[in-house]
């Protein structure tokens, strides 16, 4: 049973090969959109000599971590983002008829290979960062960002287990918007929202905040621990409440 994620990987590659042109167009569009976004933010940061107490280097570092977090979170665990729709439509059943953990099943079931289009902007960001000593930092916190992003998405995606819904709740856009800019541009209330409610700031600039103030590490890792515990409880309660579709 341990090789099912390898099979999932193969399945995704074959699925991508079946629609290779579609994949190619998606990849190019991602590359263009991300390059334009990072280009404009970094240009603003460079010409203004950073934002508040966040220097150009801090901003590049935050965006690099965020980019890696999104690559890992969205690219390799795309199934998580279909969760709401699956619960609403009842197709979640197909995850529950197999003798494996339904969450693991969902997690590994879909890889979005167009995420390859997200790598060049990351490489450019790291090139601009121009500090090889920060690479392990980016890598570690990039993984943490993916965990925060996916767990917070999963928590929102569990809502249809408990209430009747006919549409997805789009928490992704709000979270992503909070992650795009350094905390210095937000007031305290918005900072709280961006850190703990729609944790976009945790995904991008949380690790930079640790570099600036070590004590923030407790908040950061405590937040991850709370997310994990909350998700385990909510997901398992949700499975009990799951109604499927049709009598």
């Amino acid at each position: 049973m341990d090789n099912y994620f390898i099979q999932y990987f193969k399945t995704n590659v074959k699925g991508m090969a079946e629609f290779r042109l579609n994949f190619l167009f998606d990849m190019i569009s991602l590359l263009v959109v991300n390059s334009a976004f990072y280009g404009s933010v970094l240009y603003l940061a460079y010409t203004n000599n950073g934002f508040g107490d966040y220097s150009f280097k801090d901003i590049t570092l935050g965006l690099s971590i965020m980019q890696l977090g999104y690559i890992l979170g969205i690219g390799f665990f795309k199934g998580v983002f279909d969760m709401q729709e699956n619960i609403i439509s009842g197709t979640f059943d197909s995850l529950l008829i197999r003798p494996i953990n339904s969450f693991a099943h969902m997690l590994f079931s879909r890889i979005d290979f167009k995420v390859i289009g997200e790598f060049p902007p990351l490489i450019i960001l790291l090139f601009i960062l121009n500090d090889i000593s920060l690479l392990p930092f980016v890598l570690f916190f990039g993984i943490c960002s993916a965990v925060i992003f996916n767990l917070s998405t999963c928590l929102v995606n569990c809502i249809p287990f408990f209430i009747e819904m006919n549409n997805d709740i789009e928490s992704f856009d709000i979270t992503a918007n909070f992650s795009n800019y350094p905390p210095s541009i937000f007031n305290d209330f918005m900072k709280f929202l961006g850190l703990f409610i729609f944790p976009g700031l945790m995904i991008s600039f949380g690790p930079v905040m640790i570099l600036k103030d070590n004590s923030f590490a407790f908040v950061y890792f405590g937040f991850i621990a709370i997310l994990i515990i909350a998700f385990i409880i909510v997901y398992n309660l949700g499975l009990k409440k799951y109604r499927s579709a049709g009598y």
Binding site: M1, Q7, K10, T11, K14, E18, D93, L96, P99, Y247
Partner: protein
């Protein structure tokens, strides 16, 4: 035969909104509980084929979903193949196959073979073991013509065959089939029924089948469970609900006459009338079933 499924006092409620008008629904919606399954109890022996029927919304699918561990019951107990499905789902499903006619479990964009490799990996059936099993199943279900085609490009009948093979590669003890022949043509349906008979005969697989097609159930299942408004209204041999009467039509002095009578009285009756004009018809089983659905 030993008991493989035991269901006791199974209950499942759904909360649905009552329509009271746009404003009331918006500001103070009222809800009511619907009993999808209401105190159902039955047991199924190993190797049995049981037809599970009922009108739309009777609770068949909900019951099947509870038996497969997808849904948690509100009350009641289920012991299936030695497990409590909703509590021990992972271990239980290693030996249980589930096919939903209205919901495909295979990946549409990859071939049937790739799908089988993926599904086999969930059950530790891979490589030569998987190929041997597909070859062995080929005697029952031939999927060689379309095994390398993407699942989405197959006909409905072919898709169902592929779904069934995906369940059989790991030799399940129990097979749950929820309206598996939906959308199939007559020939595909007939072949599918023959196939299930073979599987039951050769592999001693217990089969629980829901369908709206009574001829299908009649051909396949000795035992019938009828459920209506969430309650069990019949559990017994199919033959026992089959009417003991026939409809006889004959011509008498240019006039067509019709009479319902017990099968054992037909021979005596035929002696009295012009036998060349007689037609004898079985009473459709649907008529009897309709009574249970009321």
């Amino acid at each position: 035969m030993s008991e493989i499924i035991k269901v006791t006092g199974l209950v499942k409620h759904y909360r649905v909104k009552e329509k009271k008008g746009i404003l009331k629904d918006l500001f103070s919606p009222e809800f009511k509980n619907i009993s999808a399954v209401d105190n159902i109890s039955f047991s199924i022996d190993k190797g049995e084929i049981v037809g599970f029927i009922g009108p739309n919304g009777a609770g068949k699918t909900t019951t099947i979903k509870m038996l497969t561990g997808i849904l948690h019951p509100d009350f009641g107990e289920i012991i299936s193949n030695g497990f409590v499905p909703y509590k021990q789902r992972k271990n239980y499903l290693k030996k249980v196959g589930v096919v939903f006619g209205q919901r495909k479990s295979m990946w549409p964009e990859i071939s049937v073979m790739d799908n089988l490799e993926l599904i086999g990996s969930f059950y530790n059936v891979s490589g030569i073991k998987l190929k041997d099993r597909i070859k062995e199943l080929g005697k029952l279900i031939d999927i060689s013509d379309f095994i390398n085609q993407p699942f989405r490009k197959l006909s409905l009948g072919q898709q169902m065959k592929a779904e069934l093979v995906s369940c059989l590669v790991y030799k399940p003890d129990i097979l749950f089939l929820d309206e598996p022949t939906i959308g199939m043509d007559i020939i595909a349906k007939f072949n599918f029924i023959q196939l299930l008979k073979k599987i039951n005969g050769d592999e001693k697989t217990t089969i629980i089948l829901t369908s709206h097609d009574l001829s299908e159930i009649e051909n396949l299942c000795k035992r019938l469970i009828i459920i209506n408004h969430g309650k069990l209204v019949y559990d017994g041999d199919f033959s026992k609900i089959k009417p003991d009467e026939v409809i006889i039509k004959w011509e008498d002095k240019g006039e067509i006459k019709e009479k319902r009578m017990k099968k054992n009285k037909v021979a005596k009756f035929l002696e009295k009338i012009d036998i060349d004009t007689v037609t004898i018809k079985e009473i459709p089983v649907e008529e009897i079933i309709k009574e249970f659905y009321k």
